[in-house]
Every structure is written in C-alpha cells, then in structure tokens.
C-alpha cells in the first residue's frame, strides 16, 4: 500500500458542499467507483483528525480510519454508484460502521460481504407509542424502570421468561415475526409497521451451524434447560422510555400517532447478538476459501467476501436472513414484555394504552432492492452497516400508513442524549440508495471508554438529568456513556441539512434499561 503524508492524502478528498465530501479514485488502490461521506463542521474535524492520526509515522499497518475503509469498499467487485459514508461513520470490521454500498445482482462478479452487514445481524430499533404523558409516568418512573428490568432480563448469562425449545427456534428462524404472531406474542398491526414485514423470506435455518443455534437458544428472551455459554455481547439490549420533546414535522408525527409534547414512547434496541455473530464468523471462514478459489482480491483482509451467485454467497444470505428473523423475534418478544410491564404498572390493557409499534428499522443488513442507477432500474444487493433504510413517500415497500410521509427512520441516541425520528426523502433515494445514519456513532472505542470514564460520574450526571437507569453491569455504563459517542444532534442535523432524510420528532430519555 502507498504511504502518503496527510497533506498528500487531502488532495484526494474534495468538499463538494457544506455537508458532503467526495473521495476521489486513487485514494486507495483499485477503486472502481468514488466514495462520498456526509459531515458537518464538527464531524468533519473528527473524520479528518482520525485520518491525520493514521498518517503519523509508525501508524502504518495499524487500524484503518473510516474514510480509508469507505475507499476500500469502493474497490470491491460489482459495486455501483458510490461507497457512501453516513455522518455517524466510524471504523469497523472491514466496512466502516455507517457505510452503505450496493452491488449489482446481475453482474456475475458482484460480491456479498459479511463485513458489510456486521456481526450483530439485523441489530435495529423499534419504537412503541403510548397515550400516556409525562405527568402519568413521572410519579411511577422508578417502579416502571424496575418492572421493565425484571420483565426483560438483560446482560450476559441472563435468561428470558419466554419458554422456547430447539424446535421453536427452528420455526422462529424460518418465520421471523410470523412466529411471534402465530404464538400470540404480538399484535397483527405490529407486522405492517416493520421493515420487510418482520420476515426475510429467503431464510434457511438449515444453513445455520449448530454452534450458532446453540448460541441463540439461551439468549435474552429465550430459555432452555441446558445453559449454554454466550461470551459475546456486542450491542446489548436497550430499552428506553422517552418523552416527546419537540415536533418538527407535525403532519408526519400525526401519521405516527404522536400528537403532543410530553407524550411517552418506548424504544427497544437489540439485534441477533451471539447468534448473528456466529453466523458471520462461520461465513467469514467459508468466504476466505471462496476468495482463493475465485481469485477475488480486496484491499483489506477483513473485507472477506464471496460472489453473490456462489454457494458461499447464497449460504451466507440465507443464514443472514435467518439471523435477521431471530432479531425480529427478539424485538417482538421484548415488545410483548414491555407491554406487559406497562399494563401491570398502569392496571390497563396494552390496547387501552395504545401501545402500537410506530416502526421497526434494521441497522445491519444486506437486502435485494430495486434502484435507479443512471436512470435505469437495477436490482442491487444493498449492504447497510450501521445505516438505516430511509425510503421516500410513495415507495411500494413502505407501510400504507406512511405512504404520504416517507418511511420513519428511528435514530437511537445514547443513554443521556436525545433520540430522533426522521423520515425518508426522494433526495436520499437518489443520493444514498435510500439510506441514512443509524445513531450517534462511537467516538471512543469501548476499551478507551472504560479507561477514560468513571461510571459513578456518568450515573450522577444521568440522575441530575432526571433519567432513571437500570444496568446489568457498571462496565456498560462506561462503554455506553454519552461521552463515548458522537453528538447525535450533529449527526441528525447533517442528514437533515444534506437532504438525505428529514427531521420529524425529537425524544428525550427519562428511563434507560440496559444489558
């Protein structure tokens, strides 16, 4: 790889608008398309500092800055359009987190890469509304937080209270949210407000290794008599109670059933955890072999991939779909448990509390979609890693209730900061294949957070802000401290100003349950 000075590197970057930079070909070897990333002034500084640090002497061969990773993705076979970095981009395994890239399904060279999906497959966010207001919840906030914490066992080694055996797991992997519906854990209306209707149809549990299934069973919501060890916990479960802080787009909010400031919402953030991690790990091993066989070359060993049409590529897509279904069942079960906790606390049926799902988005997933490329319709495999789908109004794949407003995009903040709901736009469809940011995006690594932040400080600060908190371990408080993340408001404002999605509402946390 070429080693260049920071100033020389900058020659390959061009600011094309106040919120958008272009990465020219040649920034990394073999780039087939250009790269692009969206930042405002603050985020721009973070992004360029990261690059400058990596350019210091002696840093060669160390970790890759996000902007280099975006360029490496632009060198993958079959990529179309451009490799896009969203405002919350930060370096990850192979692909940066906050990177989206689309590959032409009809190009035999095109690849699928587990690094482009991430390890926590279909990690995502679901937002429930209620008809409660701040005044109803404040007096019982602590009890409610405790009740949610008791209902939704969080953290490593925890066991759920929904009984599930191996056969149930097989069915859930195949059916996704349809399993939860069949068993009666969720409402019929939940399905329509969910990306892909909560079920990837190409899921094939037979393609998932026994090891992944074993790691799936005991997790979080599930219980099994034999206890399996689950060592990985990448993106733990988070349940937030929010109050509505600000409305930017009255009509869109109204379509989501959100009317007034102070209205209470519940956000559930989780993925496929150890299960998805095993699926990705298994696929990476297979793909390294496939790369040798098919002579696929990449700039980074972490960008292991296989042709979409190859056996390895298809097997990965089928097992990834099964992991995605697993994640939806996970979020559905937590929806069920949250509704129960609220119902118990307020002594009312969840129906009467109007606890409907506003929407459910996926952050880490690869999906086959139709897009216009240079004015021509094309079938693409769109990788979104730490990036949310954001389809515009009237798109056939979004629920009927949001046909006029565009798809709701749920952006989870950190423990102490706000969260946002955005909507998809035409411009986003055109510029970023209908994708936008997914959250705050890490500024400090988990390890660095643990070294630099004292958890008692964080807890005190949260208490001062009036946020109740229940966590499975103090380590998590440090890792997830607001200081570890980029400012979510910067991220969201960049997306709004760049036009790739539109601000709709802002939510302020009043209670956090984390595992």
């Amino acid at each position: 790889m070429v080693v260049r000075q920071y100033q020389q590197e900058l020659e390959y970057l061009e600011k094309i608008s106040s919120y958008c930079w272009r990465i020219k070909k040649g920034f990394q070897p073999n780039m087939r398309v250009e790269g692009v990333f969206y930042v405002n002034q603050t985020l721009e500084k973070l992004m360029l500092d990261e690059l400058r640090n990596a350019c210091r002497p002696g840093m060669v061969g160390g970790f890759l800055p996000g902007v280099k990773q975006i360029a490496n993705v632009a060198a993958l076979p079959g990529i179309v359009g451009k490799s896009v970095g969203l405002p919350d981009v930060h370096s990850g395994y192979g692909f940066a987190i906050g990177n989206m890239a689309a590959f032409d399904v009809n190009d035999p060279e095109s690849i699928v890469s587990p690094g482009g999906v991430g390890f926590d497959i279909n990690c995502g966010v679901r937002l429930l509304r209620t008809n409660l207001y701040e005044s109803d919840v404040l007096p019982v906030k602590e009890q409610l937080a405790q009740s949610l914490f008791d209902h939704i066992p969080v953290g490593v080694g925890s066991k759920g209270i929904i009984p599930m055996n191996a056969r149930d797991l097989e069915e859930a992997l195949e059916m996704g949210m349809d399993w939860s519906l069949r068993e009666g854990y969720i409402w019929a209306e939940d399905k329509e407000h969910c990306e892909e209707y909560g079920r990837m149809l190409n899921a094939d549990p037979a393609k998932v290794s026994m090891r992944a299934k074993k790691r799936g069973l005991p997790q979080v919501i599930f219980f099994s008599k034999k206890s399996f060890y689950c060592p990985f916990l990448f993106h733990g479960i988070k349940v937030y109670i929010y109050e509505l802080d600000e409305i930017y787009d009255k009509w869109a909010a109204c379509k989501m059933g959100i009317e007034e400031k102070g209205q209470i919402c519940v956000m559930i953030h989780s993925g496929s955890r150890g299960f998805g991690h095993q699926v990705a790990t298994d696929a990476l091993v297979q793909m390294e072999k496939a790369m040798k066989r098919d002579n696929i070359e990449t700039n980074d060993r972490q960008l292991a991939c296989a042709r979409i049409s190859s056996v390895e590529g298809q097997d990965y897509l089928k097992s990834m779909a099964a992991a995605a279904n697993f994640a939806w069942v996970n979020r559905s079960s937590m929806t069920f448990l949250s509704r129960q906790a609220f119902a118990k606390q307020f002594n009312m049926a969840p129906d009467d509390l109007d606890m409907h799902v506003i929407y459910d988005v996926s952050h880490n997933i690869a999906k086959v979609e139709e897009h216009l490329v240079d004015g021509k319709p094309k079938t693409l495999l769109v990788h979104r890693k730490g990036s949310t789908r954001a389809f515009p109004p009237h798109h056939p794949l979004i629920p009927v209730d949001y046909q006029l407003t565009g798809q709701p995009v749920l952006i989870g903040g950190t423990m102490g900061t706000c969260s946002y709901v955005l909507t998809g736009t035409e411009q986003g469809m055109f510029e970023t294949f209908g994708s936008t940011c997914h959250g705050a995006g890490r500024a400090l690594s988990r390890a660095k957070s643990r070294r630099n932040i004292d958890y008692t400080d964080v807890l005190q600060k949260l208490e001062y802000m009036g946020i109740s908190i229940r966590v499975a371990s103090p380590k998590l408080v440090m890792e997830e401290a607001p200081e570890s993340y980029k400012n979510v408001t910067d991220v969201v404002n960049t997306c709004h100003a760049a036009g790739i999605s539109k601000k709709c509402i802002k939510l302020r946390p009043i209670a956090v349950i984390k595992g």
Partner: protein
C-alpha cells in the same frame, strides 16, 4: 416448509425425509401424482412410479410442464411448487369441509343462502328511460354523471352501498371515517406532470389508492387475528427469568 405440506397431505414419515435425496424426491413425485393430483394419463403415472428407470427425469420434466410448473431453478423449488399445487387440489376437494370451519362462517352459520334472480339482467341499458333514471338517481345522490350510464350506475351503487345501507343510516358514526385531516395538497406527489389539473387528479388517484391499500391491509390484519384466535398461546414463566450468571 415442504415437509410441513407433505405431512399435511399425510405423506408417510414426512418429518424425517431427506428432500435432497434423488430417490426420495422421485418417490414423493410419484406418490403425489397417484394419490392427490391424478391428472397424468395412466402410462405416465406408471412411469413415474418406476423410480429407478433411466428416463425418469425426462418423464418428470414432461409431467411437470404438463402441470404448468414455471421454470424455477432448482428441483427443490419445483417440488415446492408441485406441493403447493397438490395442496390446492386437496383443499378444493374438501372445500365444503374447510368452509364449515372458515372464520366468517362460524359467525353466520345459521343464515340461509338465498340466490334470487337478478331483475337487472332483463333491463335495456341503452334505453333513454334507463339513462334518464340513472342520471336522476345520480343527481339526488350528488354524484357527477359519466357519459356512459353504466359507469354512473357503478358510482351510484358505491355511494349506496357505502352510505345508504340500513346499518349505515342507523349508526352513521360507525361509517364516517374519523381521523385528523391531512393537507395532501401541500405534499409532494413524487413526480410532476407539468399541469396543475393533472397533478391534482394524480394526487386524488394516489389518495384513493392509499385508501384501498389501507382497506386491504386491515383485512389482512383481521385475517391474522382470526388465525391467532386458534393458534395463539403466549406463555411466560417468571420463574425462568434470571439476570446475569
């Protein structure tokens, strides 16, 4: 999925089959034709039964084409299609049995089904009398008449069905759509026809389409709920819950 359909069709030991095994595949196809589909001439059915024959594949290909199986890539997907076809035949054969248990019928089992002769069949739709009558009706109902009286009649029928049925008149509040009005005129259409009148018309079409879609989704939801009434049994066991190790 395939195994579930097979077991629903009472195929012996459906659960433990290996569908990738060629011999099993052949046996299933032959079994389906002889026991359920029953459409091939005897010669072909007998040839299918002979699963060790060398030209089995050729006969199978002809057979599946004769059923109208679309080209789908793999044999397993073909099997899936043929199974779907067989399940359809099986369901149709036992239609009356299933209908008895259909959700709608469980509610209104006791209502006798009377098919009356339709007096409209004998009308002359082109006579002036008919045209005038329909236009008069449209005027009363505030409906804009179309040059073709039959289209006007359809519009009139819609208004009557939606708003004039006895239940609608008695419980009007149930049928008047509630909700917050949405300023659709301010919202982007997604494309531009370069003509304000056309754009407005397109917007109205979109609204009607969205309404239809909503109705369809609601009916899908009702169906899911009806099925849930039979299948759902959510269980929780708080004794199982455990936080941490």
């Amino acid at each position: 999925m395939s195994k579930r359909i097979l077991s629903a069709l009472n195929y012996p030991q459906a659960e433990s089959l290996n569908l990738n095994d060629e011999a099993t595949f052949r046996r299933i196809i032959a079994w389906l034709e002889i026991n359920i589909i029953k459409q091939a001439p005897n010669v072909i059915a007998n040839n299918l039964k002979n699963i060790t024959a060398r030209d089995w594949d050729e006969i199978y290909n002809r057979y599946k084409d004769s059923l109208g199986c679309p080209p789908v890539g793999s044999k397993l997907e073909e099997l899936q299609w043929i199974l779907g076809y067989a399940a359809q035949i099986e369901t149709n054969d036992n239609r009356s049995l299933y209908l008895k248990h259909a959700v709608e019928n469980m509610k209104s089992k006791n209502v006798p089904d009377v098919v009356a002769e339709n007096p409209l069949d004998k009308l002359n739709f082109r006579s002036n009398e008919f045209v005038d009558g329909v236009n008069e009706l449209a005027k009363i109902l505030n409906t804009v008449p179309h040059p073709d009286p039959l289209i006007t009649l359809r519009a009139v029928r819609k208004v009557i069905v939606k708003r004039m049925a006895p239940d609608c008149v008695e419980h009007a509040e149930k049928y008047i759509v509630k909700g917050t009005p949405f300023p659709f005129e301010e919202h982007a259409l997604g494309f531009d026809l370069k003509d304000p009148v056309l754009n407005r018309a397109a917007k109205i079409m979109r609204m009607i389409y969205i309404q239809d879609l909503r109705e369809l989704q609601t009916r899908a939801n009702e169906l899911i709920v009806a099925v849930q009434n039979i299948t759902a049994n959510p269980k929780t066991d708080t004794k199982l819950g455990k936080v941490g190790y």
